[in-house]
Symmetry: C3
Subunit: 656 residues, 3 copies
């Protein structure tokens, strides 16, 4: 089957959505960077571009509250009226993204501290400790004040809490953070005996005898306790989530409008956005392609599908992307003709009900002045402005897409705790990393025209014909049971190397790897045999593996690929196990792309999964609602589903 | 024309020069490292080598003032007499280059602090904060005491203030530096509103409400404010200059002899030597080639021409270079036969009226013991000693060169503020850097035998037929007007990419790039298109560009080179604009060397500039006064201007 | 000659050896990581594997002394009885390797500080300053308490002090360390004048006027004083040795059993193990191969031979190695079939009278859980367990080897002070490093089947036909005289580049390099000519040199290899000098391996040294007592001394 299991409108299941008709279109608006006379021109040009919403006041703290407790609303009131007059809806920010210098100077203990004890200063942005009481109180107070002032204004349709939580300071190692960490651990473990057991402190004489001895994983002579580190990742995500909740509650006290904060899925590791996704009224995401990525459209698609997963397959909002170059990469490549449009349509195809940019008008000063905007330094007589105007018009014509579901019958298992755990230090090979494993499997399916949902192993897996677990190092008993049940009841499962190895405390599951998945995979692994840097070894069936191999015994499974050379010639590299009514595959190495594609073809076939449409190389297809999105990332025209699409072009085909 | 516009003796315009006949020849002399019985041998060997001047007491603080306020002059008095007896002139240092351990221990607040708060300790050298009051007072006191004692001694002919200011500590981030930075900013901006505007603090909630909130760009979560950083570079150069002035004034109170301090042009970025050049009686410079540079002679020539520019084309003194290897590079390559001589003659050809070395006698202990000296560890029965003696004799024969001008009719625009600004973070591409751009253009001309003067865009540009601006990112209105006037009145101008982009506050000049040069270049650029790492794209006329391209519209200019492929096929890569009576070229990429050479050939032809002499590859020619210097850096003999020069050799041809 | 000069049983000269018959076999045992019910299974499986000794309680501080002064012996008493009941001997640790969290919290001043002032925290292991009084007192107290409790227990046969001293914290820069450094310097130099002379503080105004001014080489603006750095290495090794002595003496007060602490020769630089070797009753060593080393067996052999040298050629104990992969390399390669056995036999062949592993049972939690054990996560139905059992049985059959000497008539000169000195900063080339030079010469001989003893130049050199000095930068007068005497009396000597350059204070020996060896080598060097990165130059006799060349004059020696190109064509690269009754060779570059092999062939021939047996490539042969060990590291069968050995296999041939 190629249809989404549920036929209900996912928009219905989104907890709420801002009251703006059609697809949202707009960007961050920072009028304080410009003379007041520019604002009217902004509003006029927004109308010309089809903008229907802007995010306002994200970095306005220093202007809104120039001294502690003193508010200056006048200028913002005037901006709101200008926008309202032009029919532009407002996503109003709580203005707390970066505390002003006066705050940091008055509350120096709120400044973040790195793991080696370096205090970070103001002068850039986000210079606050996530566990700072003074910051939390000041931010909540300002959030409440903003909400109180603007809750009733008809232009305001939603709330934007803070901004990209943790993007620069995801962890703080100060004494206040240490105290908060202890409180969090007490809630998790109850008593020190439980912590000592979970952290395995019998190792290296690490046993804690008093809660006050427990500290963050600060700079230390060598590898810090791995479970301490894992809990530190958990705590740090929760510490920022607590900040979010405090602001959200301060806003909710004044308004029932939808509330969000902008995520940074896909490459951002510190926040467990699956947990965060439950705390927002609608999921919004910021995504920027890496210009030097050989296939930025694949990484973009991954981000969009993942964001939909964080929204539990409901529509979501692309809160930020760029019209062209950004400013923070080593080389900030501009978008080539057509890229802006294809990128926006890929997001829409994958569930976005709005496309917004950082930012409306490119800055003339500051650290982001070379970040492209909707309105570039060169003004309106530019290619970029014309593309922005054209995109606004095109999206206006796609209003019917809003709320429709994205079709996917393949689930890709995603888990932040597994990401954190698999990349801890002192592991068998530093070449086994989370995103690389996910990306390779994701890209193989993207190239086949197969769309995936991102799902957590302990959430609802029903309705997926095929589950992929490219990297699931940490797996709880419940997660393992869910995968087993999926296969026993007729599902297909493909597991990547170094999965199912540890429990939630990062303790090895003994008796042969992969402890949590031995039975479902029908294999038993004695030992890991990682490869030296850059080495690959041949498979008997053709192709090769790199990075990793395993001394693997078949225990019910059959060998599908076998090593021709390397440290373990003749032993299995890929296995397939009939288990209950389904099948479980184990890919015990990093296959070359073609070999992986072959294994996945077999698994797709076995699971009865077909692509959204047959596609030539470099063409992206996604089915959403009754539309087929065809995005041609090649330079040559292609014909897909009877429609010819120019090189670099795109088509949205009804029925399709 | 190929002659220097002014025919007056530039020596006349030098504010002063030490009273030593002929070219200066000598080096740093550190007698305190050797038993007193060695001093007489030193004096005798100096005479044998033709040494007529040495720099004395540069690192003698600990011996001259072994306890605060207690001086021990005796040993230095004896050294002075030994030298005087041998007829060696003395460049007497103020002995303040490195405070002794007792000073640092007594004044720990004088130790420098890095941007992450690390305090640096004594145990090496130069361990002081540029804004330290205790250091400034102690150094000035010692400088005055030295001057008072030796001002009247006939052997002393000039003063050497401190040593290589900032070579290890150019910036300090301590609280005293923060206070000094605020004072400097108050002088620059008057009030906080002006600072907030200049720094663009509406961005990221950075507005300052109290002067005490303003701090150095210390370690911070992400990119610090760019204008804050730019002002930090300005302030840091000025802070050290203030130290220099304090010592200089303390010396001047006792003596009218010429005063200098040794610069480190060409690769040293922190000091605005154009400003420093106005504060010394004669410009002196330290230069060391990078052994692994594929063409060290080019970088040496650049340094020499730049130093002449810092001296406003007057003669200058090479205060330090090395007879052979240094000690501070990863691999310290010794000079091959002939290199010592060619290097010295290149400096003389380019305006040096003296060649001095670090150091007279190679040390046997300490961090610089593997730095070559005039007298090596191996003694006088060595190739090196013989070369040193021969060079001394040869320079004695070139006394008539002193004071004569170097012929150049091409000006290369050099600006430290532009250097600082163009290399700030979060720019379009990290591959666009200052020295690389300057070096490529400089080297192209060096290979053609064309000598350039280094000039600042806001100083006198009269008399140059051709101006080159390989990298002029920051350009003031006055600078832009000067370039415009140069072209309108018949001059030729060649501009490199990413020039004319921002004003003195690092604010973008809006309305299309390059804002300050749009009119003179006759182009309008919408957007930058940097290339991925290592990428180059072909030009329709042959050759290629790397690093960078621009979406460029002709606005009066004509296209001279056009992109054949890359992100912008068919658009211009190099343009030429007839503007008033002159011509302005825009090279909107990093051309390959051959293509750049071709463009420059056309510009040179257009400007009527001919080389000093036609040269084969690898041969350097410079005209100074009535001499033609021919330096053969190849292994084969060449004939230039009728003179045959052996491989590795050199000739100074009268008339030529 | 190919026999060891002494025919006495070296075991006799070992100060003592634990009372365990035959070769020791076992590993670290950490029962506190497992439930008590596992202990009996451990004992049973140890018997199955032939284990006769385990190291116990290395990281048990937190459990043995859970609060200051409160001991809990019960659990350890029970472990001791379980082992005793199974006939397993105990190497009892003092449990001081890592202080528990309560200790560090109670004594924060005991935490180590890096050179930039960063305090390191607990949470990993070994978080203590080597000069901490509180740590030394607490560790000694615990060591005494452990010894007091278990000295009389019949299962306990030896003591294991602490663990891998300095492996993470070899240097601490805190104020207590500074004070201890001053005390150490006062003992070395007596007064400040002597220190000032030795450190050459006339350089850079570094003269010390008060002992309180003397500090560790903390972070500083640039290169710290080289002699200060060299003394810092000396002091740091001694500071840890003082800790060892304190624990040892506390144990000795209760027991006369042999005492050791585990070294980490070969790659570990901070400790002068030649000095440490005099302080232990038997030398024990930990060695782990680097999986990505192209020839790990060579580095292993080097380590084993060096360890024998630290034991002054007496038998020694391999206290730790791994059965397969470790956890701390970037990619932890598992051992391939046969490697475990070959590695163990190589150690035995080279003097080990015991083979022990870290650790008995692979951990399920903590930073070392991916370190292989004797009993892997997969249990006993594994290749690894079977290999461990088989090795135990094989070693039991080799009991007669214990105490027999290793045959070697070549001495390789090894000196930690030279290592420290040659790798100080600001040297002619960073490519000239200690281990690389030693490894190249060692490997050349390994491949020829020639075994070497590691010896210090100032210890007994009698009986060696050939001495090799691949890197002996620092050489005292006594050392130089010993080498001279060796050659004059008929010995052969081969010296590598940049040897004999400085005295014990790191002062250059003047008058031409290599000052200490000019006479014995019959050469005089004017100047070093290091090469640029990656460069090599040809020799006239074929082959090439890289890294380095010298402007060298023959002063009695003859040229054996000559530069064909490079900076010094026609000058000597390798020389040979008949001196007295012997011959001294000078290899004044880094030869390619084949050329070095040729030079060494000539020197071996000249010295009359033959290999243990003629060997094909990749086969290792060593003669110990009356056995010939043949280790086949290739994949193909080979026949050596009439015995055929399978690919990957090994044989111990009696007579041979």
């Amino acid at each position: 089957m190629t249809d989404q299991p549920s036929t209900t409108d996912p928009r219905q299941s989104a907890r709420s959505w801002p009251d703006v008709p059609g697809l949202l279109y707009g960007g961050d608006y920072n009028p304080e960077q410009w003379p007041e006379e520019v604002w009217a021109e902004d509003a006029r040009l927004m109308q010309e571009a089809g903008v229907n919403v802007v995010s306002l006041a994200i970095f306005s703290w220093a202007l809104l509250e120039p001294r502690e407790g003193t508010y200056e609303w006048g200028w913002l009131d005037r901006v709101v009226e200008v926008l309202h007059g032009a029919g532009i809806a407002i996503d109003m920010a709580t203005a707390t993204a970066s505390p002003p210098p006066w705050f940091s100077r008055a509350h120096p203990e709120s400044l973040p501290v790195t793991e080696d004890g370096t205090r970070l200063w103001w002068g850039s942005r986000q210079a606050y400790c996530p566990s700072s009481t003074s910051y939390r109180e000041a931010a909540s107070r300002l959030a409440g004040a903003v909400a109180e002032r603007y809750a009733a204004h008809p232009a305001v349709r939603m709330w934007h809490i803070n901004n990209e939580y943790g993007c620069h300071v995801a962890h703080c190692y100060c004494d206040a953070s240490a105290a908060a960490f202890r409180t969090w651990l007490q809630a998790r473990y109850g008593d020190l005996d439980a912590l000592n057991t979970a952290w395995g402190t019998a190792f290296w004489s690490q046993r804690y005898g008093d809660w006050e001895e427990v500290i963050p994983p600060r700079a230390s002579p060598t590898w810090r306790n791995p479970t301490q580190q894992l809990d530190w990742w958990r705590f740090s995500s929760d510490a920022l989530l607590e900040l979010y909740r405090a602001e959200r509650d301060a806003v909710r006290a004044h308004s029932d409008l939808p509330i969000t904060t902008n995520f940074m899925a896909s490459r951002f590791k510190p926040l467990d956005y699956l947990a965060w996704g439950r705390e927002v009224d609608l999921v919004s995401n910021d995504h920027y392609v890496i210009g030097e990525d050989p296939a930025p459209e694949v990484e973009l698609a991954l981000s969009a599908d993942l964001t939909r997963g964080l929204a539990r397959q409901a529509p979501w909002l692309l809160m930020e992307n760029s019209t062209s170059a950004v400013n923070w990469q080593p080389r900030n490549l501009a978008k080539t003709p057509g890229q802006l449009r294809r990128h926006a349509l890929s997001h829409v195809a994958r569930g976005a009900d709005g496309i917004m940019f950082f930012q409306w008008r490119a800055s003339r000063a500051g650290a982001e002045k070379y970040h492209s905007g909707m309105l570039p330094h060169g003004g309106t007589d530019t290619k970029l402005w014309r593309e922005v105007v054209a995109l606004g018009a095109e999206l206006a014509g796609l209003a019917e897409v809003t709320g429709t579901p994205v079709a996917a019958s393949v689930g890709l298992l995603w888990d932040y705790e597994s990401w954190w755990a698999v990349e801890l230090d002192s592991h068998p090979s530093q070449d086994v990393t989370y995103l690389a494993a996910v990306r390779q499997v994701y890209e193989a399916l993207w190239r086949k025209g197969v769309t995936v949902d991102f799902v957590h192993p302990e959430e609802d897996l029903g309705g997926y014909d095929l589950l992929l677990a490219p990297s699931l190092y940490l797996l709880t008993d419940a997660g393992a049971q869910a995968l087993d049940a999926h296969v026993r009841t007729g599902g297909c499962l493909v597991v990547g190397p170094f999965s199912g190895i540890v429990d939630e405390n990062d303790h090895i599951r003994l008796g042969g790897y992969p402890g949590a998945l031995r039975e479902v995979l029908g294999v038993r692994v004695e030992e890991f045999f990682p490869f030296a840097a850059g080495v690959q070894h041949a498979l008997s069936e053709g192709g090769s593996g790199r990075t990793w191999s395993e001394l693997l015994h078949l225990d019910g499974a059959q060998a599908v690929r076998t090593w021709a050379d390397g440290p373990l010639p003749g032993t299995p590299a890929v296995t397939r196990h009939r288990h209950g009514d389904g099948t479980a595959w184990y890919v015990a190495t990093t296959l070359d792309d073609a070999s992986l594609g072959g294994v996945l073809d077999d698994a797709l076939h076995e699971a009865g999964v077909a692509p959204a449409a047959p596609v030539p190389a470099g063409v992206e297809v996604v089915r959403r609602g009754d539309r087929l999105f065809v995005l041609n990332h090649t330079g040559e025209p292609v014909t897909v589903a009877g429609t010819t699409v120019d090189g670099g072009g795109a088509a949205v085909v009804q029925g399709g």
